[in-house]
Symmetry: C2
Subunit: 379 residues, 2 copies
Amino acid sequence: MENFTAYNPTKLHFGKGVTEQLGETVKEYGKKVLLMYGKGSVQKNGIYEKVIQQLNSINAEIIEYSGIKSNPLVNDVIDAAQIGKLNQIDVIVAVGGGSVIDSAKVTALAIANNTDPWAFMKYKVKPQTTKPLIAILTLAATGTEMNGAAVLQNHKTKEKIGYVSSLMYPAHSFLDPEFTYSVPKNYTAYGIVDLIAHSLEAYFGEGDASLSDRFVEAVIKEAMEYGPLVLKEPTNYELRAKIMWAATVALNGQTSHGRKYGDWGVHDIGHNLSYLYDTPHGATLSIAYPAWLRLQKNRIHDRIVKLGNQLFGTNSADETIALLEKFFKSLDCPVRLADINIGIEKKEEITKQMLNNQIDGMVHKFTDDDRKQIVELMF
Amino acid sequence: MENFTAYNPTKLHFGKGVTEQLGETVKEYGKKVLLMYGKGSVQKNGIYEKVIQQLNSINAEIIEYSGIKSNPLVNDVIDAAQIGKLNQIDVIVAVGGGSVIDSAKVTALAIANNTDPWAFMKYKVKPQTTKPLIAILTLAATGTEMNGAAVLQNHKTKEKIGYVSSLMYPAHSFLDPEFTYSVPKNYTAYGIVDLIAHSLEAYFGEGDASLSDRFVEAVIKEAMEYGPLVLKEPTNYELRAKIMWAATVALNGQTSHGRKYGDWGVHDIGHNLSYLYDTPHGATLSIAYPAWLRLQKNRIHDRIVKLGNQLFGTNSADETIALLEKFFKSLDCPVRLADINIGIEKKEEITKQMLNNQIDGMVHKFTDDDRKQIVELMF
């Protein structure tokens, strides 16, 4: 067991109607609110209106920044931060999924430190402070609502990268499972894949942490039991609640205690695919994980078997990988690049991206040959 | 799934040598330190000296309050608070197990609010603020290092009761598994029973929370796998670490999310036994849990079977109870009152205590007849 610090300052409000406390919570931080959201789905499903009502109830001054893309761009963060600074906002309220909340996290840093956000993201400048962030989650997937991580892409540098800072935990997060009723089937499935992938990144990390292993297995079993059901019953409260909470827990720290760090190689592959083809994050992971496991099969054979034994009752690494892939397929998620209409003619382009950005895991390191092989394995 | 708030502000430092950061951490809060500990075992095993060195390194002014009993008394808290107030301390450093840290939690409230601590404990006065508390844990058992609960007894009112306040989370907790090497075999075993009991109190709580159920099962499996081993190898770092972390997780919230509350009926029985005979907390639980399960067997049959299925692969409630009892026995823990030399002649006294204090669970309520039956079942 590795030394670790267990600390998570986010206050997370979970359940039916929890956003009725949003106004009072925002008020603790001030009245000048930078309201960030995406491309308008929150307006269609009525969540925007609920948030505005809450903010109006405390006579908040609302400055909006909308249009955050599902693969979020650092340029939006730069623009949002400028607006936030000009208006001297007190607090950010972010309404959306991972892309919006991640953007808001980095925006909060950029406002408070008056610095180019990409300089943080590349660990060139260390932020000293931040603006308080209140998140209203509308998509169960990334776990951003209860951690200090964010992922953004930058077209100038041709990168999509993650960044972690203890300053980026939301002060409060509001999770009402009903807010995810209108998430379409494919994005619901991508969220399930994402939460499983987060659990696996921890599982294949560095350090022997038996209790965290058990928690990983618990979270994945939860997702495998209830994930397929929620796709059939998208307005079943209990099912939405189970998946929403599982997604939070998959990346709020408790599957990682006792490890030095997770691996995150599969995420690096996925981010680069998203960068190239604007592929939804979860869809890149259902393609990349089976490929990664096949690459690592002989290197971490026993670990894969331990997982397979817990999830599927098998003692075969091959069967474990096949059954995981089969599960992703059962959710109608892609497991090969062809499934997202990327043909073999793109092989060179993808390989170049992987080599140029030297994609890597933190524990299971890639050679250039691995990088090429991973691309092969995704076709 | 019930609505809930997930929030735990304690910063917990886990691993070998973590207390080397103690001095710097204390310094953040000030230099006038109320140092609380028990009856001297921390002096024998060298932990006291390490703490003093750390406090000296920041030139702290140390005011000591020692002699806290293993079944801690509210009178000690009243005295410690008076000393703390007189000396206008900045921060409390508590070195010990649950009894010392629980006492320190209530002492911190009593100093900051200048109020009789028993008035908080009986929920008659609501504390408004507190003094910062830094805990150095020397016993894996109660989970107090990462929660807002405390248990004290009061000889005047003939009660031993628990109290919960969000103000009572330690600001920091330091958990070095090596600090538990010298815990004797029986107390190590009681700690294992205690952490299992905490998990079960959540399991038999109110509300359907499937992921929290899985976490309960995970924590108990961890304790059942490594608990017997640590008794054989008390200076095995990995084993001590696993049990220490499992004890924290058993009561830091993550087995309860999605439930309204746990049951805590067994703890109420145990506290009253401890009150009467100064029985160690864990020893009361290994006696009371099998008795409670036998009382509830037909009322919550399916729930007991679910547990048994996960832990022992059985579909019988009777066998589940028998195997849990057998596990406690295998740790050399008492499972009947006779095992702690309490003979049948005490039956009336015990029954009177249970009836007078109207012991109860929060979910599974007792009638007076149940209270009598529970006593019978413990003999």
